[in-house]
């Protein structure tokens, strides 16, 4: 397998009648693969003889795989932690592949599950063998749409195709009601344990005591797919992509001036500019997700796509270019309103703080109100400081990160609004803010 350079490839770029592995393809195939085609396209899944216990973990450590989304925690360390806890308590661990993709603007996980579900299932089997897990759960959003297809059905069909005896691990598919924080570890564990799907107070981490009280490894489906690739092609293949600190091929969801977002295959260190050039002239770019950060247009034009270069986390892999005629404050207000409504409503600071931050941003986004109301920025900063770090999950923290980046990047817009003007004519929201699939109970 030759090394693929750090260029950018469209994930579904080829219109081929036969699915061939060519260098032009990204890591994803151009059309959905059944199990047989999957084996041809990627090669056979290594058997336990070919990949004895411990070797997978070593490869993953050498490869330097970090989880997508969340804090980018090294996968190897999580594996060690979970297997250590399992050994100490003499209890079999649980593997959870998180395909909930609660981030509404992100499509990469659904895209991956649609085109190459067996890659994710392979990864789950490999991790399950390595950890000697007795339960492997693939969590996906109930009723998840994907283009014209029914993603849940596609995934269930893929699971049905597997030979469980050969795999050695049986994968369960669990449908999770789509909410923004549904994929948060404690919330996901709550759902899988039959609870309300909200974060809970924990003395131990999920790695020590998760689903059913067992040590639980929760990873994003893309990370799990990376495991399946590394097992076949090796850690060096993985490290050929990206940078030393941020290795590996990665998927991103790009909003850049076209009607629909597209999922692209890229790696850290690639120039950001070509991805969003179609959207020019642009105002700013949102990196990561709704818990991510805005970056300025000049930075977007010159920086490389990496956390080191951008100085912001890549998070869930969202890259959303805001065209110049839009209003960054209106867009941020729209997103933060969604985030406020997606709060679990359990924790006093978040329940009280996020709606106030959202309301204040709405005022700030309206030149009429922004010019009348004094102390808006002070109130915003006060409330941001008040919700940060005070709650059962990082929803308020992530939301505050977005708000603070907006207050910096849209400085000139703020000044204009306070003078009663708006530089952007188009105040329509760009990014999606879906209504909740189900309501949380009031507290």
């Amino acid at each position: 397998m030759t090394a693929i350079d750090n260029g950018i490839r469209e994930a579904a770029v080829q219109q081929q009648t036969q699915v061939e592995r060519t260098e032009d393809n990204g890591v994803l195939p151009s059309r959905p693969l059944g199990l047989a085609d999957h084996r041809v396209y990627y090669g056979a899944l290594p058997t336990p003889d070919q990949l004895p216990l411990g070797e997978l973990a070593a490869k993953l450590g050498h490869a330097g795989v970090r989880g997508r989304g969340g804090a980018g925690f090294p996968l190897y360390r999580k594996l060690v932690s979970v297997s250590g806890a399992a050994r100490a308590r003499r209890v079999a661990p649980t593997i959870v592949a998180n395909g909930c993709e609660g981030e509404p603007a992100s499509h990469k996980d659904k895209h991956l599950l649609w085109l190459a579900p067996h890659l994710v299932l392979d990864g789950m089997v490999l991790l399950g063998r390595e950890l000697r897990a007795t339960r492997a759960v693939l969590a996906i959003e109930a009723g998840a749409p994907h283009g014209k297809g029914d993603l849940v059905r596609r995934v269930r069909e893929a699971v049905a195709e597997r030979d469980v005896r050969q795999d050695g691990v049986r994968v369960e598919v669990v449908e999770v009601p789509g909410r923004f924080i549904a994929g948060e570890s404690a919330a996901l564990v709550s759902t899988l344990d039959g609870g309300p799907g909200l974060p809970t107070y924990r003395e131990d981490s999920v790695r020590e005591r998760g689903v059913g009280g067992t040590p639980t490894l929760i990873q994003n489906v893309e990370t799990v797919a990376q495991v399946a690739l590394i097992a076949r092609y090796g850690a060096d293949w993985f490290r050929d992509y990206g940078t030393a600190a941020e290795p590996g091929p990665q998927l991103f969801t790009v909003y850049a001036g076209r009607n629909r977002p597209r999922v692209v295959h890229a790696a850290a260190g690639a120039p950001l500019w070509p991805l969003i050039a179609d959207a020019e002239p642009i105002d700013a770019v949102l990196i990561g997700g709704y818990h991510g950060s805005w970056i300025t247009a000049p930075m977007a034009r010159h920086a490389r796509l990496s956390e080191a270069d951008l100085d912001v986390p890549l998070g869930a892999g969202l890259i959303a270019a805001l065209p110049a005629e839009r209003c960054g404050l209106a867009e941020t207000a729209h997103i933060v309103r969604y985030l406020a409504l997606e709060s679990a409503g359990q924790c006093g600071p978040c329940l009280n703080g996020l709606p106030r931050i959202a309301a204040a941003l709405e005022l700030l986004a309206d030149p009429h109100h922004a010019s009348q109301r004094n102390g808006l920025l002070e109130d915003l900063e006060r409330w941001c400081g008040m919700v940060e770090g005070r709650g059962l999950c990082h929803h308020p923290d992530g939301s505050v990160r977005l708000v603070r980046s907006a207050l910096i990047v849209f400085r000139t817009e703020i000044a204009a609004h306070r003078a009663g003007l708006c530089t952007g004519g188009d105040r329509r929201p760009l990014l999606p803010a879906p209504a909740p699939a189900r309501e949380y109970a009031a507290h």
């Binding site: 981490s205 924790c347 600071p349 005070r390 059962l392």
Partner: protein, 74 residues
């Protein structure tokens, strides 16, 4: 955690209703925000305050205040 030499305060945010007893008993470690919820200083409870901290944990009407061993690296 009576035997713990330097315990830390933690809040079960889902249970906390903002009664505010903890802030009364531990004014050096806890103040209340605009909505009555505790802002807890990071770090271990001082030795002088340890007894009051245990009382605050016992007296919290919502049983939402906890004393635990400082989190080692995760």
């Amino acid at each position: 955690m009576r035997t713990n030499p330097s315990p830390e305060l933690a809040v079960d945010w889902a249970g906390c209703k903002g009664h505010g007893l903890c802030a009364e008993l531990l004014p050096d470690h806890i103040t209340l925000d605009d909505w009555g919820y505790p802002i807890v200083s990071a770090g271990p409870v001082s030795a002088a305050a340890a007894k009051r901290a245990r009382r605050a944990v016992a007296d919290c009407p919502a049983l939402a205040l906890k004393l635990k061993a400082p989190a080692a690296g995760r």
